[in-house]
Symmetry: C2
Subunit: 438 residues, 2 copies
C-alpha cells in the first residue's frame, strides 16, 4: 500500500462568502448545529446514473482543516472581512477545527439526482465553511467515475487505460481523475504520480517522438526492445501503420503490443492483426487510442475489430460531454431551541427537500429496482438497504477503505443496475421515489 502523502488543501480552499458568513455567524452568536446535504440537482443528459467518488479526499480535507498563522494574517488583509473583531481571527479561526458528523454514500456506489452523497451535521459555521471544497472535491471525481463507468461498460471486458493527464484541468485534476477512473473499473492509468499516491497500476507505451528521435522505425523499435524486452509496446502510426506492422513482422521483434493512435482504427487493426497472425505474432496485442469515448468504443467492439484494449484520455479526465455536475450543498436542518428542525427554501425552479434524509436502495432478485429518498427517521421500505452510512463522528473519520475494495464494490453495484439503465444511449431513467413532503 502506498502512503497517504497527498498534499492537503489549505483552509482557504473556500469561497469568500463562506468566510464572511462564518464571521457573521460569529458576530451574531449563531452557534447552533445545522445539517447540509451534498447532492446533484439533475443528471446530465448523457448519464443515467452517477458513480459516487471523491469521499476520501473530502474527508482528508475535513480532518486536516486548520488555519495557519500565515493564512490568518492574510485574511486580516481582506477588505470584506475588515470589520470583523480581532478575536474572530486570533481566537476563533486559530482554534477552528471541523468537529462534525458526516454520513456518506460509499465511493463506487451508483447514485442518482436528489440523493445526498454526503450529509454533514456540525456547528453551522463549520458546516458552512467547507461547502466549496466539499462540492469541488466530490463532484469532479464523481463526474469522472460516472463517465469512466460508461467507458468500462462499452469496452465489454477489454482493457481500458486512462491516458488523460495532459487534458485534465492541471496535473492535480489529472491525479484525481486517474483515481476516479480506476475505481470505476479502468485497469490502469498513465499518470505516474497517481500510481505512487494511490497504488493504481501504471501503463504506457511510446510516443511518436521516440520514433522521430531515432529517425526510422527499425532503429527506434529495436532500441526500445533492447531496453524493455518482452514488455515493449510500439506505436505504429508515426508514418504508415501497415508498413510498420510489416516491418515488425519481418524483423524478428516480438512486441507485447502495438498501439494505433490515428486513422481508421477498425480497418487498420484488422490488417495489422492479419499481418501479425501470418508471421507468428499471435500473442502481440493491439491497443487503440486517439479521442476515444464510450460511443466510439462501443462501435469498435460491435464491429468485431481485433482491438484488445483502449487508451482513453479527454473523455474521462475532463468528463468532456458533461464537464460539471449540478452539485449543490443545501441547508436541510437548523437547530432551534436545542433541536434540529427542517429548513426550507422556495426559490423559483430550485426546490430543496428539508430534513435529515436517508437513501434506500430496493433490490429484487439482486437487481436494483428503485431508490427511496425518505427522512432519516421514517420507516424504511421493506428489504431495502440504506446507502448513507456514518463515515465521520465528531471530526474523526471512522474508516478508510482501500481503493481496490472500492473498485470491487463499484463493479458489483453497477452490475446490479437494470440493463436498460446501464445502456449507453436512450437508457431508462432509474426511479427515485421521494417520500418527503416539503
Amino acid at each position: 500500500m502506498p502512503g497517504h502523502s497527498e498534499p492537503m488543501l489549505s483552509a482557504l480552499s473556500t469561497d469568500l462568502y463562506e468566510l464572511t458568513m462564518v464571521g457573521g455567524y460569529y458576530v451574531a452568536g449563531l452557534s447552533g448545529h445545522a445539517t447540509f446535504d451534498l447532492f446533484v440537482r439533475q443528471l446530465p443528459a448523457t448519464r443515467n446514473y452517477l458513480v459516487a467518488a471523491g469521499l476520501e479526499q473530502a474527508l482528508d480535507f475535513l480532518e486536516s482543516l486548520r488555519f495557519t498563522a500565515e493564512e490568518i494574517a492574510f485574511l486580516r488583509t481582506v477588505p470584506a472581512l475588515a470589520r470583523l473583531p480581532s478575536a474572530f481571527f486570533d481566537e476563533y479561526l486559530a482554534d477552528f477545527r471541523f468537529t462534525g458528523d458526516v454520513s456518506a454514500i460509499d465511493e463506487g456506489t451508483p447514485v442518482f439526482a436528489q440523493e445526498p452523497l454526503m450529509r454533514v451535521t456540525a456547528p453551522l459555521a463549520e458546516a458552512q465553511l467547507v461547502e466549496t471544497a466539499l462540492i469541488a472535491e466530490v463532484m469532479f471525481p464523481t463526474a469522472v467515475a460516472s463517465r469512466a463507468s460508461r467507458v468500462v461498460q462499452a469496452a465489454g471486458g477489454r482493457g481500458v487505460m486512462e491516458f488523460g493527464a495532459r487534458r485534465a484541468h492541471g496535473i492535480d485534476a489529472g491525479i484525481r481523475a486517474a483515481r476516479a477512473a480506476y475505481l470505476a473499473g479502468f485497469d490502469s492509468s498513465s499518470l505516474v504520480e497517481a500510481g505512487r499516491r494511490f497504488g493504481i497500476p501504471l501503463s504506457g507505451t511510446m510516443a511518436h517522438s521516440w520514433v522521430m528521435a531515432f529517425g526510422d522505425e527499425p532503429s527506434a523499435f529495436r532500441a526500445y526492445a533492447e531496453a524493455f524486452g518482452e514488455r515493449a509496446v510500439f506505436i505504429l502510426d508515426t508514418y504508415d501503420a501497415l508498413a510498420a506492422a510489416r516491418m515488425i513482422a519481418a524483423s524478428g521483434l516480438t512486441p507485447k503490443a502495438v498501439r494505433l493512435d490515428s486513422g481508421d482504427l477498425v480497418a487498420t487493426s484488422r490488417e495489422v492483426r492479419r499481418i501479425f497472425d501470418d508471421h507468428g505474432l499471435g500473442d502481440t496485442s493491439i491497443v487503440a487510442s486517439g479521442d476515444l469515448d464510450e460511443l466510439r468504443i462501443a462501435e469498435i467492439v460491435a464491429s468485431g475489430a481485433p482491438i484488445d484494449g483502449f487508451g482513453v484520455g479527454t473523455a474521462v479526465s475532463t468528463s468532456s460531454d458533461a464537464p460539471a455536475l449540478s452539485g449543490v450543498y443545501k441547508l436541510a436542518e437548523m437547530e432551534r431551541n436545542g433541536r434540529l428542525v427542517p429548513a426550507i427554501k422556495t426559490s423559483p425552479g430550485k426546490r430543496t427537500y428539508p430534513g435529515s434524509k436517508q437513501v434506500w436502495r430496493v433490490l429484487s432478485d439482486g437487481v436494483a429496482v428503485e431508490d427511496v429518498l425518505a427522512l432519516s427517521d421514517a420507516v424504511p421500505p421493506p428489504g431495502a438497504e440504506p446507502l448513507l452510512k456514518e463515515v465521520m463522528k465528531k471530526g474523526v473519520r471512522l474508516s478508510r477503505p482501500p481503493l481496490t475494495e472500492i473498485r470491487e464494490r463499484c463493479r458489483r453495484q453497477v452490475a446490479q443496475l437494470p440493463d436498460d439503465v446501464r445502456r449507453l444511449i436512450d437508457g431508462r431513467n432509474y426511479p427515485v421515489r421521494i417520500r418527503i413532503g416539503s
Copy 2:
C-alpha cells in the same frame, strides 16, 4: 505582493511513457538536443482566439523539477521500468534537472491554432519528460482565459466576478482558473486561496443558507449589515426576490449591492431597481449570477437590464463549452551530428510543421491583421512583432512579470484584434499564414 508559496508539482507529474522513453534514451545513449513545440491543433468551434496563460506555472515546474529519493524508490517498483539499469535511477534520475532553453508567448496574448505557445530546446530526455505537465499546466489556464475573455467582452465594462471554484475540477483547478480569469480581465474571484496566492481581489456575498439559518430575511439582513456595514451584499431570491427588495427598501438598510441568483434576471432586476430608486437606494447595485455565460450576459446587456455586475462560475472555471483544448507537444527539431535539424512526422490527418519557429503578428494602424508562422531564421515580415520570446535559458528563468502587468497586456492585445474576430457568434477566423514547407 503575495509570496510565491505555491506547492510545486512532483517530478512524477508525467505519463509513464515519458519515463520509459527517458529510460530508453538513457540506455540507447541518445543524449542530443531536441526542440518541441507546444501548440493547439485547432480552435474549438466556439473560439475565434485563445488567450495564452499558464506559463508561470509551467516555468515553476521546470525550475523546480527534481526526483526525490522517495520518488526514485517508487519508480524502482514500477514493472514497466524494471529492466532499466540501476545507474538510471541512482545517478541519472537523482541528478536530473531541467537545463534547457524555453521561448514562449507572453501570458495574456491572443494566440491561434498552430502557433507554438512554448518552444522547448533541451537534451531530448529532459524535453520529453516534461511533456505531460507542460500540456496540462498551459492548456487548462489557456482554455479558461480564452472563455473568460469572451465573458469580459460580453459584459461591456460591467463588473465580472469569478465564482466557479465549486464547479472546478478540484480546488487546485479552481485556483488555476481564478488566475486565468483574472488575467483575462475578470475583476475578482471568490476563491480565497487564489487571493492569497496571486493577489487577486476577492469578492463574495452571502448564500441562501445565511437567510435560512436566521429563518427570515429581516433578521438575516440586519445581522449581516451589523457585521459588515456598508460592504454588505444581500442575496434576494431565497424566497421571493421582489418581496425581499421591498422589505429592504422599507427597513432603512442600505446594502452596497444585492444579488439575484435565479428566475428572470432581466425582469426582476428592473423591478428591484425601481423599488430601490423609489426608496433612496439609488446607490445599491444589482449583481446577477446563476449559470451565466457570455451569450446570456450579452443578451442581458443588450436588454438594458439594470444589472451592474455578473458572477460567473462553471462557464469559466471549467470552460464548459470547450473543456479541453487540442494541445500537443511535438518534436520539431532533433540533433544530428551536432546540429539541430527539422523532424518530420506524417500520420494521416495530423500534419506537424518541422523546424524551429517564430510567430509574427502583423499590425496595421494598431489593429492585428494577420499572424505569420515562419522558421526562426527566416526573414521577418516587414513591421511585424515576434511573439515568441526567450523566457528560460539553461534552466534559469529570465523574468516573472506581475499578474497585473499580464492582465493589462491582455486588455491591450485583445483590444488590438479586429472587431469581427472578437465577435461572440459567427466571428471571422483570424488569418495565420504558414510560411513553412513540410
